[in-house]
Subunit: 345 residues, 2 copies
């Protein structure tokens, strides 16, 4: 059996099972008061250090798979490779701290390009207080960037596994804009200048929702994850981790007016499957939801509800009130199965 | 200018300078008592958590650059990709704790091969108390494995920057055996079976010197690094970080009898430039050296001395007492310049 048969997520599940079952040896952190509290499978791992909870995540971008030089200049690539990791810390309600940067590069790569890449990383790092404290550089026939990032949380991190039937589901802003920007660049679509600029920026410079994660966590929200593979697909993962199902109301999904203007017929599809928005998806009982929603930025909205049902199942209720199986609307890089998702370069 | 002109280490120096100069934003760890104590440039980064020092490192292996499937079966590859990271923690005198594993893989990769890879990781992890707590899996035309690993140290880590003139230099065991094993496999050399088995094992299953790192640190040794790129080259890096020079006495370099038997004419060259031994190189004043040496495993030896001089300069004193510039005997994957080093696949 090859990976493309099993799929990325199938293989990950197998490996997580192996890694947790076959663990052993001394726990060197224990004598110092360190205790693992969030294992593989959430946005980050987490452990208590005795004084705080520490978070730990990693994310990789490969040329030709996650980016092309055509749609992503080096500086934006630096920004995005760090943004996706900061977003994982944000999804736990944490604050980012230290990063290791691994660059796999062909020897013919221009040094100036790598300095551009770094400038993009350093720009977002200054906004979020991240320090690059090391890394690795290796020769590789294909360019790739791997960031490993730690973070801190003063208390209990937001998890994927704590959504409960009766919760409402919310998002922290407009979804689909990043996917719209990518679509625009790939198809060279003719759209009004202001919309084009907004969508391109959303794709090239996504803003991790660090402040929003802190707001959610401080308000007492327990369940969240970041939207990186697409709203419907990520919601399915959150539901699976929590052993619940969900219902999205299509008419409530917040779509930015400029995305709607640029892609009037496809904006809902982009909002559900576009990916790389790096907003947070979260759930909370209705009372808590109504308290926390006014404290979130423009676009934040309730988009549906958590229900009892087959774990991971997501239904889409269309504007006429008819329910459809949302299926998997995300994107599996291994099987190459686009489902209803737009192309992700 | 391309990377191959500047070289791996030249580019790393530039990027470290950028990353440390252009840092900014809030220090989210500070309110919780976290404080960065070892920045980029040592074997790992380190910070105080309030109750301990935490260590953080990453290391990558790329197919065709750091390994080939011919000389490294998947299970050994898993072992080695984790061993090189554990070795960095050992070089700080620390104990390893949590790992994130990133796999870049072609979709045609057999699932069974990846499970073998994982079994190799889990085997060494059980010996050293490492838990895999997450990671990433991405499609890539070339296979690569990146591990990010944390560790703990109850006090002050061993650094590269603390060697002083007057110190003696030691290694924690026989050097060059891993390089001998690789040479054996690449050249299909005819060597006695027992020697072949020993050398192959040294290349495929290197043992990180975690226990030895603890012994050194507890005894009060301050300066150490692990030998991954070759003794002479790594020594030069340690000297550069400390602002000192060094003199290696060729006759004192510990070479295993089976390496000598297999490669009588090239064993010194392999010992100086072979790499991937994952022993520790350390320095200490003579009195401390004489106290700590008997507590180290067979093969551990004093191999030279730290002297005042041009930072990073290493001299090799041959058995006749004549000094030679050791130059750079390591291997830069980007420039492809082999110096006197054996091929590293």
């Amino acid at each position: 059996m090859q990976i493309k048969d099993l799929g990325e997520f199938g293989l990950i599940e197998r490996l997580i099972a192996m890694a947790t079952r076959q663990r052993g040896g001394p726990d060197h952190g224990a004598p110092l008061g360190f205790r693992l509290t969030v294992d593989a499978g959430d946005d980050t791992a987490a452990w208590r250090t005795g004084v705080a909870t520490e978070l730990f995540t990693t994310d990789t971008m490969v040329e030709g798979v996650h980016f092309t030089r055509e749609t992503t200049p080096w500086r934006d690539l630096g920004w995005k490779s760090m943004a996706s990791n900061i977003s994982d810390i944000a999804a736990m309600g944490g604050l980012p701290t230290y990063a290791l940067v691994t660059l796999g590069l062909p020897p013919e790569t221009a040094v100036a390009d790598i300095e551009e890449l770094y400038l993009g990383m350093l720009e977002i790092n200054r906004q979020h207080g991240v320090s690059i404290v090391g890394g690795d550089m290796v020769r590789s026939p294909v360019a790739f960037i791997t960031v490993a990032l730690t973070g801190v949380h003063p208390g209990q991190p937001l998890l994927r596994s704590t959504a409960r039937p009766g919760d409402q589901m919310g998002v922290t802003g407009y979804v689909g804009s990043s996917g719209g920007g990518l679509r625009l660049m790939l198809e060279h679509s003719a759209v009004p200048a202001k919309a084009a600029e907004y969508l391109r920026q959303a794709h090239r410079r996504p803003q991790p929702a660090v402040a929003q994660g802190r707001i959610l966590s401080e308000a007492g929200v327990l369940a969240a994850m970041d939207i990186s593979d697409g709203l419907a697909d990520d919601l399915s993962k959150l539901c699976k981790a929590s052993g619940v199902a969900a219902r999205i109301f299509a008419s409530q999904v917040p779509i930015h007016p400029l995305l709607r203007q640029a892609f009037p017929d496809r904006c809902l599809e982009l909002a559900l499957g576009g990916g790389e928005d790096y907003l947070l998806l979260f759930t909370a009982p209705p009372k808590l939801m109504s308290e926390v929603l006014p404290r979130l930025p423009q676009g934040a909205a309730v988009i549906g509800e958590i229900v009892a049902g087959q774990p991971g199942q997501v239904e889409l209720v269309d504007p006429a009130g008819v329910a459809h199986a949302a299926g998997s609307l995300g994107w599996d890089h291994f099987t190459g199965d686009p489902h209803a998702a737009p192309d992700r370069s």
